[in-house]
Symmetry: C2
Subunit: 310 residues, 2 copies
C-alpha cells in the first residue's frame, strides 16, 4: 500500500504543517517512502512561510486508511485531534511536545515527546542524531514553526532549547529571525479577509472545567483595535455559538503580537470568573490581560483553577 503519511493536528498551525514537511524530508533521506499531508488548509501565517521558502503546501486529507496502512504523527497524539480514521492504521512514530492522552497502540513504536515549545526543536535534534544536514528551505520552515509557537520567543512555553534551535536554523536559512519573524506574525495577524464566523472559529478550542463548558478562541493582531472595532458583530456571533453549544463561558482573546498583551472578551453566564481569574474588571465584556499570550500556559490552567475553586 501507499507511502507512509506524515501529518499534524486538525486546524493546522505553522508548527503542525512545517514539522510534517521537515520530518518527511528527514525520513525520506533515511530511506522511508513518505509524504507530508495536512488535515486542513494552511492559515495565512503558514502560507507566508511556505511562500517565503518556496515550499508547496501539503496535500489536504481528512481520512488516511484508504491510501496507507502506516502513519507518523507530528505535533499531536490525541485521537480526537488526528485523522478521522486514525484507529484503522498503524502509528509508526510520534514526534510531539504536548501532554499524552487518548493514545494507544497495539505494539511498540518510536514515540518522542519533549517538554519544549515547538515540535521543530525536537526535529532539529533528530536531524543531528541521524547526521543529516537540514536544507536551507526546510530550516526556514522549522524556524517559522518555532517563531509561531513561541510568538517570537515571548511565550512562557518557549524554552532555552527553542531559542538555541531557532538561532541555529536562522543561520542555515539565511534570514534574520526577528525581522522575518515579525513579518510572518504580521501576515498571520492580517484578519481583514476573514468573515466574523471565520474570525471566531480560526483557532478555537473547547474545554470542560469543573463541569462547565468553556470555549476559548485566540487571534493574533498587530493592532488589537482593528479586531475590537468589530466588537458588536463578534458578540452576536459568539452568543449564537453559546446558545447552540450550551456553553457557560466563551472567552475571545485578541493577542497583541507587538506588545505581548491580550484583550479578552468574555461572554456567557460564567463571564465573571474571568474577572476573578485575572483580578480584572470587565467593561463592555472587555478586559486587558497583561502579559498573557499563551492559551496553553496562561489561560487554560488559570481558568481551570478558578472554576475548581468556586
Amino acid at each position: 500500500m501507499g507511502n507512509v503519511l506524515i501529518f499534524g493536528h486538525k486546524n493546522p498551525d505553522t508548527d503542525t504543517i512545517c514539522s510534517a514537511i521537515a520530518y518527511a524530508d528527514l525520513k525520506s533521506k533515511l530511506g522511508l517512502k513518505v509524504e507530508a499531508v495536512a488535515l486542513g488548509e494552511a492559515n495565512n501565517e503558514t502560507k507566508f512561510a511556505l511562500e517565503r521558502f518556496g515550499v508547496a503546501a501539503p496535500r489536504i486529507v481528512t481520512t488516511v486508511a484508504s491510501e496507507t496502512n502506516e502513519v507518523i504523527l507530528v505535533d499531536h497524539n490525541e485521537r480526537q485531534q488526528s485523522a478521522e480514521d486514525i484507529d484503522q492504521v498503524t502509528v509508526l512514530e510520534v514526534i510531539d511536545h504536548h501532554r499524552i492522552a487518548n493514545f494507544e497502540t497495539k505494539g511498540p513504536l518510536y514515540f518522542r515527546a519533549e517538554p519544549v515549545g515547538c515540535t521543530a526543536t525536537i526535529l532539529l535534534k533528530l536531524y543531528k542524531e541521524n547526521n543529516v544536514e537540514v536544507p536551507a528551505n526546510i530550516a526556514g520552515l522549522m524556524l517559522s514553526a518555532i517563531i509561531s509557537d513561541s510568538l517570537l520567543f515571548k511565550s512562557p512555553t518557549c524554552t532555552a532549547q527553542d531559542v538555541a534551535a531557532a538561532k541555529e536554523l536562522a543561520v542555515i536559512a539565511g534570514v534574520d529571525a526577528e525581522e522575518y519573524g515579525l513579518d510572518m506574525l504580521k501576515a498571520g495577524a492580517n484578519l481583514s479577509d476573514k468573515t466574523i464566523e471565520q474570525l471566531v472559529n480560526l483557532d478555537s478550542k473547547e474545554f470542560e472545567m469543573n463541569g462547565a463548558k468553556v470555549e476559548i478562541a485566540q487571534v493574533n493582531a498587530v493592532d488589537v483595535n482593528d479586531v475590537l472595532a468589530r466588537r458588536i458583530e463578534i458578540e452576536n456571533a459568539i452568543n449564537i455559538i453559546i446558545e447552540k453549544k450550551g456553553l457557560d463561558l466563551f472567552l475571545f482573546v485578541v493577542t497583541d503580537i507587538l506588545n505581548n498583551d491580550s484583550v479578552g472578551l468574555a461572554f456567557g453566564k460564567d463571564a465573571s470568573l474571568v474577572e476573578k481569574a485575572y483580578n480584572v474588571k470587565l467593561e463592555d465584556s472587555k478586559a486587558v490581560l497583561k502579559g498573557v499570550v499563551s492559551r496553553k500556559a496562561q489561560i487554560v490552567p488559570v481558568l481551570t483553577d478558578t472554576f475548581n475553586q468556586r
Copy 2:
C-alpha cells in the same frame, strides 16, 4: 517533598531494575535529586547481576505519593503495571520499549519510547546524547538487562541496536558478554529453591483473547527436564488456578536457554488451540514449541490469532 523516584514495572525483571538504577545514575549526574526504587523483590537472575557488579538492590515500595510528587518510569507506561497510586503523582519522564496504553498526563513530559529489545539500549543513547560516561558497574547492569530481555541475543525482539549496545557495554564493564550472559541466565534458571506455587506464578500474565481468559506463564531452564519432573504437581497447581480464575487456557512455557526451544504444558478446555496454533500434538498435555522463546513476539500474537479464527 522527597527525591524524584525512578522505577520499572511490577514483578520486576532484570531490565526494569537495572534500567532504574542506570537512569538514576545518569539523572543524578545531570543534577536531578533522584532515587531508584523497585515495585517488588529482585529475581535470582537480577540478584546475580547486582552481586556481580557490586550494586545494592533498590529499596522496595508499593506506593509513592506519600514520599514524592514526581516520578520517572522506565520499562513500562501502562497504569496497571505501575505503582498503586501512580495517578496521584506527576510523571516527569518515561523511557520505555513497550506499546503505549492506559497512559495519560496533564501536561507535556519527556516520553522516549523506541521499538528496541531493551530499555537499557535506549539509556545508552541518552548517556551519549548528554555526554556522560557510563561507569563500569552501571555498564555491567545495562549489559545484563539486554542479555536478559534478548535471551542472549536469541529472542526475535532483539534488534541490531541491542546487539551493538551490548557489545559496547561489555567492553566498558570488562566482561565477556556470552560467558557472563550464560552464567547470569543460568542463575535465573535455577528454580530449585522455588515452591510449585512460586514456579507457576514467577512470570505469569493474563490475557483476554476473543472473549476467552488465557494465562501464560514462562520460566527459563538450563535443563527443561528438571522442571518437567514436577509435571504432576504443576498440573495440580495450575488446575486450582484455572478453577479459581475461570480460565479457558493456562499455558505453562519452559524455555531451554541453551537450545532456544520451549516445552509447553497446556491445560483448560481450550488447550487444543495450542495444538492448532503451533501445529503440534499435545501428549500428556505437553508439546515441544520449536524455536519459541518470546511470549511477547511468539506466543501472545500467535494464540490471539488462533482464538480470533475459531
